[in-house]
Symmetry: C2
Subunit: 112 residues, 2 copies
DNA sequence: GATATAGTTCGATAGTCATAGAACATTCGA
DNA sequence: TCGAATGTTCTATGACTATCGAACTATATC
């Protein structure tokens, strides 16, 4: 049961986080994660891209420090590192998520 | 005296803004602008890149809606569209600027 | 063991991006 | 008018990126 490396809070970098959030597919994924209380299967979140592409995006999000990924059985469970990001960049994630709520282009993605 | 097109508040897009902010050179530029009360000459802000590169970055920032650029004589004056961004994405710019203050990689750029 | 499920990795591709130098445009001073 | 100052545009380049399909890995189920 392979697990993946995650940056520590110290290693989380502002420009990496902003870059990770600047892709519509990734931003939509983060938005969906934020609305859930528990860990989510990657495949449970609707997206218009191939699963190999999604795997790539999840890697970018994980390496930026935004999400935590844990494999269990055949599935890989993701969760938002909300508290850690909030501690490091106060208000940032909340502001982005609030802004994403209004963004039609992002919302449209979750309906595909 | 050529002037440049700017997106209206309606046209400002979240992912474009995040992308514009995700480059260290641009984020540093925005951070410097935010600290000033008045418009700034492009060249007045220290950066480690060539002026043609800076011109490119300023274009990206302008097209994203983050800054306003106005030419006057031989110089081009830039200012942050703080209020408009705040109205569109409440708290976002403030959170990013606050986070950038702590980011050593960004601060280092302004000392070059 | 065979098959299905859930993701990952690999290889390829087309596109974007940051970068710089050279040439150019425009304006201001001497 | 001739330079100097300040940026912009053009072109090129190397790096990175989003995308996909195919092959693969690992686990679960029958």
């Amino acid at each position: 049961m392979k697990q993946y490396p995650h940056p520590t809070a110290d290693q989380i970098n502002l420009t990496c986080v902003l870059h990770a959030l600047s892709d519509p597919v990734r931003l939509n994924f983060v938005r969906c994660l934020a609305e859930q209380l528990c860990e989510q299967r990657c495949g449970a979140i609707p997206t218009p891209v191939a699963k190999s592409t999604m795997s790539h995006h999840i890697r970018v999000l994980r390496e930026s420090g935004l999400i935590r990924v844990r494999t269990e059985g055949t599935q890989s469970l993701t969760s938002l590192r909300k508290d850690e990001i909030e501690a490091k960049f106060p208000g940032l994630l909340a502001a982005v998520l609030e802004a994403a709520k209004e963004d039609e282009a992002i919302i449209a993605l979750s309906e595909k």
